[in-house]
């Protein structure tokens, strides 16, 4: 056997250019005669626009043009929403506000000037006459009687009511020994990608082509949407996602500025650049989470959960961005988590508020589901006097029950939930820790052990379940020299697929990693694709690469047989980069020789085309369902409420692992973002709709010094959904870790009788809870 790359801890091939600063982000792109755009944004959360006077700005030094909503309303179509829930109310969403503004940060006008400083100076010269209206910020108030209405045409702030039922929920509650209920908040978060958004657009009038460089996770889907918004033929529009400095779902979208900057380039005949400031990023790039839930569990005394009833309010913000209304439906689908809970009822009310839209944020609806349920499992354990492990173990389905049907209508592909939890308990030394916890309590020290067992829905997904298709594409192009170019329709942006896909190629074709180049993110080069989100790039996009490789191998084998003078193709084997005859291994050719012969085309079998490349579109038959168990161990300082980590153990099962370094990297990053939600982060708007946490000096994201040593381990249960057995791991950390950490803190507080606290668990909140106990 030759070298195998799949499964090995191969360092990322992307990292050298990223670490040495030689990669190209949107703001690195400079075009000849380029000019700069700056945007005037609403300072009110809710106001009528009486007048927008741009005359002074037009006269300002260096200013080339100023446009308002009225100027572009005919030319640019509305910002699209892809989700189609029944009876969904869809407000008109112009790229620049018209009669009203609905949140602080809503674009009102755009200035184009010779440099970004002059553009920004001119923004201050635009005079806006606002008639302020009362804002509604709290989603519960928004749906109550008498609240200010965000979009008057609807007469209500309820954008949708979505329900999901399975089994017989009424019966479950009739048969329950105990009903445990809890109201909880999953706070609004700001994704804070390191690179803010940015767009450069250039129009070539000769070709009639518009090129848009933008920091996006979905270049192809964006191209289709932008073509519609701008009235351009899709094949005259080229979208390029250069290096993307983090997205986490916030760049899985179609933004007003992307269409606006494209329009400006066409209208002005000059390339235009717009780079979002951090302040703008906080105000007008999508936020995440923002759910309030009342959960009721019908349970037996032995801990068996018979049924769950959820009443959820989703804070939508003022407008729907691309997937805003769809995100909470993922919460509903995953509402029974890794447990065999046959009866379920979920009701989700989507509420308009005078705030930035919420949308996908790493995990997108599933962290909320896992948080609700994992908090409930601990609340149930507390009510029944059982160990949290016991309650979980009792409700897990057995490994032989997979594919496991859920009350929400899903079929979990494969799993062994007991094994993952046992492994995590072993690693952390669970029994001993519980004893130590008892001893420490005698000394007035408060150790907390928090468990989270989870299952997530990944590899999105079968096409019927997604608004724009859920397949993924790949082209494998073997060049005449035997080098291999992969064009992936997934648009990875930091997740490491350039490495993972090269590993698959190297193993399948017997070439070196360095012989493989993975290209993505340019719609003029890469065939149509869907993008990177929902932990899909490897499981779906990697499978597409694998499928294309099989087609390439088939053709190459056919050609090799011909060149070797063998009529029976079945007698040709391909191993370690060599084709040879099974019954006469001395008769052989290298892969390179076959590739070259395919291009020289001097001696091809009849009916075989020259060249050696193949494109494959992979349509998955199901989602995948990664799972695992995380255990956090913390100590709470009862005097100050400060939380210190003692241990953090993560056992994740993401199916077959292509590269353990990539998996660890994804898990680490996800846990850190979870830690942010659990302990630090919250997007706070005041009553008038001003974003109080509008800067990084006010909004606390985790720093390196906040992060404990992360002990990661895995179980490996292959997925039957794809031939590689991959499940996906991009979001596992953010799904699993938040409740593990919160459960740990609340476990520490159990002696004080504290049953629940809403995130973020900042020291003052904990101190008050202890003091109030």
């Amino acid at each position: 056997m030759g070298k195998k790359f799949v499964g090995e801890p191969i360092p990322r091939v992307e990292d050298h250019r990223l670490i040495t600063g030689r990669s190209q982000y949107v703001d690195d792109i400079v075009r000849p005669r380029m000019v700069y755009a700056a945007i005037l944004r609403s300072i009110y959360a809710h106001a009528r626009l009486k007048a927008v006077n741009v005359e002074k700005a037009r006269q300002a030094p260096g200013v080339i043009a100023v446009f308002t909503g009225a100027d572009v309303r005919e030319a640019i179509g509305p910002v699209p929403v892809a989700s189609r829930l029944p009876d969904l109310k869809i407000p008109k969403h112009p790229v620049l506000a018209l009669e009203k503004v609905h949140y602080v940060g809503e674009p009102i006008a755009v200035v184009v000037a010779g440099d970004r400083y002059l553009a920004r100076d001119a923004v201050d010269m635009i005079e806006v006459e606002y008639e302020p209206l009362e804002a509604v910020v709290d989603p519960e108030r928004a749906i109550a009687e008498g609240a200010p209405i965000v979009h008057e045409e609807f007469g209500t702030n309820v954008a949708f009511v979505w329900r999901l039922s399975g089994g017989d929920i009424e019966r479950a509650f009739r048969e329950a020994d105990v009903v445990v209920s809890q109201r909880m908040v999953n706070q609004r978060l700001i994704p804070v990608a390191m690179e803010p958004r940015g767009v450069v657009a250039e129009y070539l009038p000769g070709e009639g082509q518009l090129t848009v460089w933008t920091s996006t996770q979905i270049p192809h889907l964006l191209r289709t949407q932008l073509a519609t918004m701008l009235g351009l033929a899709e094949n005259r529009l080229r979208v390029i996602a250069p290096e993307v400095g983090g997205g986490f779902g916030s760049k899985l979208n179609v933004y007003a500025e992307e269409a606006l900057v494209g329009y400006l380039a066409m209208r002005l005949g000059r390339p235009v650049k717009w780079i979002e400031t951090r302040r703008e990023n906080f105000l007008s790039t999508t936020h995440g989470r923002g759910q309030i839930a009342e959960v009721e569990a019908a349970v037996k005394r032995d801990g068996t959960v018979l049924g769950l009833r959820y009443k959820i309010i989703q804070d939508l913000g003022a407008y729907h961005q691309l997937l805003t209304p769809a995100i909470p439906t993922l919460t509903g689908l995953m509402a029974t988590g890794p447990y065999k809970i046959p009866n379920l009822h979920v009701q989700i009310v989507g509420a308009f508020t005078n705030k930035m839209a919420t949308d996908a944020y790493r995990g997108a609806g599933r962290p909320e589901a896992t948080y609700w349920l994992e908090r409930m499992m601990d609340r149930i354990a507390g009510e029944l006097g059982l160990d949290p492990v016991q309650v979980r173990m009792r409700n897990f389905p057995q490994p032989e029950e997979f594919p496991f049907p859920t009350a929400s209508g899903l079929a979990y592909d494969s799993g062994n939930y007991h094994q993952a939890l046992r492994r995590a308990m072993e690693l952390v030394g669970y029994e001993k820790l519980r004893q130590e916890q008892q001893q420490l309590r005698q000394q007035g020290r408060y150790l907390g052990i928090g468990i989270s067992t989870y299952v997530e829905i990944c590899a999105l997904g079968p096409s019927p379940a997604l608004p724009a298709g859920g397949w993924e594409s790949a082209t494998v192009r073997v060049e005449p020299t035997g080098k291999v170019t992969v064009l992936t329709g997934a648009s990875p942006h930091g997740q490491g697929q350039e490495t993972a896909f090269a590993q698959i190629v190297a193993d399948e074709l017997g070439v070196e990693l360095a012989d493989v180049r993975v290209i993505h993110g340019d719609t003029a080069i890469v065939q149509y694709g869907i993008g990177t989100f929902g932990s899909r790039a490897t499981a779906v996009g990697g499978t597409a690469v694998y499928g294309a490789l099989q087609k390439v191998k088939e053709k190459a084998t056919h050609l090799a047989a011909h060149l070797l003078g063998e009529e029976n193709v079945a007698n040709v084997a391909f191993e370690d980069g060599h084709f040879f005859l099974k019954d006469n291994p001395e008769r052989r050719m290298t892969f390179h020789e076959v590739a070259l012969a395919a291009y020289l085309a001097k001696n091809l079998p009849p009916g075989v085309e020259p060249g050696l490349e193949a494109t494959y579109f992979f349509e998955p038959s199901n989602f995948t369902f990664p799972f695992g168990a995380h255990i956090a161990v913390v100590e709470v300082d009862p005097e100050t409420g400060d939380v210190q980590f003692r241990r953090y153990v993560a056992v994740d099962d993401c199916g077959r692992v292509l590269n353990p370094l990539l998996v660890d990297g994804q898990v680490h990053g996800g846990i850190v973002q979870s830690l942010g939600q659990a302990l630090l982060e919250e997007a706070v708007y005041d009553e008038s709709g001003q974003l109080v946490t509008g800067e990084l000096t006010e909004y606390a994201i985790p720093k390196a010094t906040d992060v404990p040593w992360l002990e990661t381990d895995r179980t490996e249960t292959p997925s039957p959904v794809n031939p590689l057995g991959i499940k996906g791991v991009g979001e596992a950390g953010t799904i699993a870790a938040t409740p593990a950490i919160v459960n740990a803190v609340l476990d520490a507080l159990a002696p004080f009788g504290v049953q629940h606290l809403d995130m973020p668990l900042r020291p003052e909140k904990i101190w008050r809870a202890i003091r109030g106990a």
Binding site: A38, D121, T640, L680, E695, L696, T697, E698, I701, P763
Partner: protein, 287 residues
């Protein structure tokens, strides 16, 4: 995030800097590291017409001994204070405080003079400067004067510096015999500034009786302050746990604590009391 236009000067020495400041007065801002000024300018909360960057004034970057005192030039970067062997030996409190400022990037750029002259109510240095009884030397084209630390901080973001004056030097006493020090801090998690920072200089006799003590507290009030009531409750007493606890309970006596998104006034006061006690204990152990 994009400042208004300004004219930038980078004088090579102090007299050039003073001349520029004299010329442009209130319309000029001194840049001494820039970790406070530049963010304010990017948010357009500060819009100076002229920026005088002291980064080229090398004569203001030094740490040296002068008898029983140590002199630190105003343009000395936090990292140099943090890692100075001389300060670690003879005035460890200042090095320890510098170590707790921001992060590595901030410490590599920020300067002691810049931080003190900005007078952020949650900056770290003021607590230590007060506890050490430092003196600060200000220079203008008209001459120079020494300002006691306690007189230097006037209010939030306001110091005793007069228009045309540049803070050039900080003078702190070298550590005496049987003296312990401590700086403890609870950081505001987003900014890294102090929600509460307590600096203690504590001299005890061989019997464990407090001979002298100074406590500086930052982050709690509009300006850093000396916790006199705490000091009085310690001086002349044997430092057992209850004496320290009772004294620390006075950490916010006469103070109206700040309240913001990150901590209520009540919690800030509580933190001040708890961390005052912990700082005194730590200082006692370091004697």
């Amino acid at each position: 995030m994009i400042p208004t236009a300004f004219e930038y000067f980078r004088p090579a020495n102090l007299s050039e800097a003073l001349a520029l400041l004299e010329q442009y007065k209130d319309e000029a801002k001194l840049l001494a590291g820039g970790h406070s000024l530049i963010p304010l300018m990017k948010l357009r909360l500060a819009q100076p017409q002229y920026v005088i960057d002291l980064g080229g004034v090398k004569e203001l970057s030094y740490i040296r001994e002068s008898g029983e005192h140590l002199l630190i030039g105003a343009m000395t970067r936090h990292v140099d204070v943090e890692t100075s062997e001389m300060l670690r030996q003879r005035c460890p409190l200042l090095a320890e405080t510098a170590h707790r400022i921001g992060d590595v990037q901030v410490r590599n750029m920020g300067t002691i003079g810049g931080s003190l002259a900005h007078a952020d109510p949650a900056a770290d240095y003021p607590a230590a400067i007060l506890a050490l009884g430092a003196e600060l030397r200000a220079v203008s084209t008209k001459g120079e004067r020494w300002i006691r630390a306690e007189d230097f901080f006037v209010d939030m973001l306001t110091t005793a510096l007069q228009p045309g004056e540049i803070l050039v030097e900080v003078k702190v006493p070298a550590l005496g015999p049987r003296t312990g020090t401590a700086y403890v801090k609870v950081a505001q998690k987003a900014s890294g500034f102090a929600l509460c920072g307590v600096a203690v200089v504590l001299a005890v006799d061989p019997n464990g009786v407090c001979q002298d003590v100074a406590v500086g507290i930052t982050g709690i009030a509009p300006k850093a302050y000396r916790a006199r009531a705490v000091e009085e409750a310690l001086r002349g007493r044997a430092l057992d746990a209850s004496v320290i606890a009772n004294a620390s309970a006075k950490a916010t006596e006469g103070i109206d604590p700040l309240e913001d998104l990150h901590a209520s006034a009540e919690y800030r006061a509580h933190l001040a009391r708890v961390w005052c006690r912990r700082a005194i204990e730590q200082a006692r152990e370091s004697v």
